[in-house]
Amino acid sequence: MSIGHTLLGLLESGPRHGYDLKRAFDEKFGHDRPLHYGQVYSTMSRLLKHGLVEVDGIEAGDGPERKRYAITEAGITDVARWLATPEKPEPYLQSTLYTKVVLALLTHRDAGDILDNQRSEHLRSMRILTDRKRKGDLADQLICDHALFHLEADLRWLELAAARLDKLREAVTR
């Protein structure tokens, strides 16, 4: 995830202090990993250097220096360009799980057990996400769903692999 573009996007609704930005980011996107303030500071200075934001004002206070940032025209264009650029789909071509399954087959271990255990582990995560989704707001639901669908995709692959274990065994042990 591009933190720079995300912060820029948050500025589009109006000028904010660095601390505000961090809070807004954490609230909306940073469930698992909140931003360090240093990260915000370094990102903002990079954006400032590229002319994508400007300093709207400085408040002197008893704490650290509080700069208020505003987005520039170039910044808005940059956000628009970023949003319009599709993300490259991740190929997931070599996963650890695949390696484990093939190895189990090669060493004549029960690959089915590996898959069952993996499914159980996946489901454990999915239960936590589902629970959070049920208790959370719309944003929570969306982000949890995103994760759930990815996990589900893994599990689907697991099911398919389980159904094809025999063929796979033939193929890899030949």
Binding site: D116, S120, L123, M126, R127, T130, L148, F149, E159, A162
Partner: protein, 229 residues
């Protein structure tokens, strides 16, 4: 294997053969009150048969099923029917609502089978329909409502008798993911608040994620993943 302490419904070493196919080959199962257990596994693995055996719809060829301290396999057909009427609830994939009855009549049906007067049964039914957010459909017939609405009506029906166990066989199988999840949410919420156990047969992980734990059935054998790990 002994019956786990506090278990409501336990099955041990179930075997069931349909003609040439072995549907269950030593499967076991156990569920506690208020627990939601997903039964997962590939198609044809025997998960529906396991559900039918647990619910006393089908008699296993061998093995034992204990419900609340009573041996289900020793009951007569009439006793098992009475058990299903009063203690169990059912949700199937589709085709379970009587097409000629209105939705509220469908929901009230299990109560009426238990001998409740019509008005009282329909009042209770309506309360459950409200809870599942389908009370506006009460006068409609199943043919006039959407799939998701129909399943919610079916869920209301499965819960209307305050059963101890609800058996749900692919309850979201015919629904899109949005409606499916809504149905699961309502089902598990209602079941948990009433301390009703749910046996949930599904092959969808996201549906299974509404469970507390899962049992995997493969080739007629079951594997309780919680015990393993």
């Amino acid at each position: 294997m002994t019956i786990p302490a506090g278990s409501l419904l336990t099955a041990q070493d179930l075997r069931k053969v349909y003609g040439p196919t072995t549907a269950l080959d030593g499967a076991g199962f156990s569920i506690h009150p208020g627990e939601v257990v997903a039964v997962m596994g590939p198609s044809g693995s025997g998960k529906s048969t396991l559900l039918h055996c647990l619910a006393g719809i089908v008699m296993p060829d061998s093995g034992s099923i204990t419900y609340n301290g009573r041996e289900v396999t020793a009951m007569s057909d009439a006793e098992r029917s009475a058990l299903r009427r009063s203690e169990f609830g059912f949700v199937f994939q589709f085709g379970q609502l009587v097409p000629e009855l209105t939705c509220v009549e469908n929901v009230a049906l299990p109560l009426r089978l238990n001998g409740s007067p019509r008005r009282e049964a329909e009042r209770t039914a309506l309360a459950w329909m409200e809870r599942l957010e389908v009370d506006d459909l009460r006068k409609k017939r199943p043919g006039e409502v959407s799939g998701g609405q129909g399943q919610r009506v079916a869920v209301a029906r499965s819960l209307v008798t305050n059963p101890r166990v609800v058996f749900a066989d692919e309850p979201t199988g015919a629904l899109d993911s949005f409606n499916g999840e809504r149905v699961m949410e309502l089902l598990t919420d209602a079941a948990r608040s009433a301390n009703t156990a749910v046996v949930l047969v599904t092959h969808e992980a996201r549906v299974a994620a509404y469970s507390d734990r899962e049992v995997v059935v493969r080739d007629g054998k079951s594997r309780d993943m919680e015990r393993v790990v």
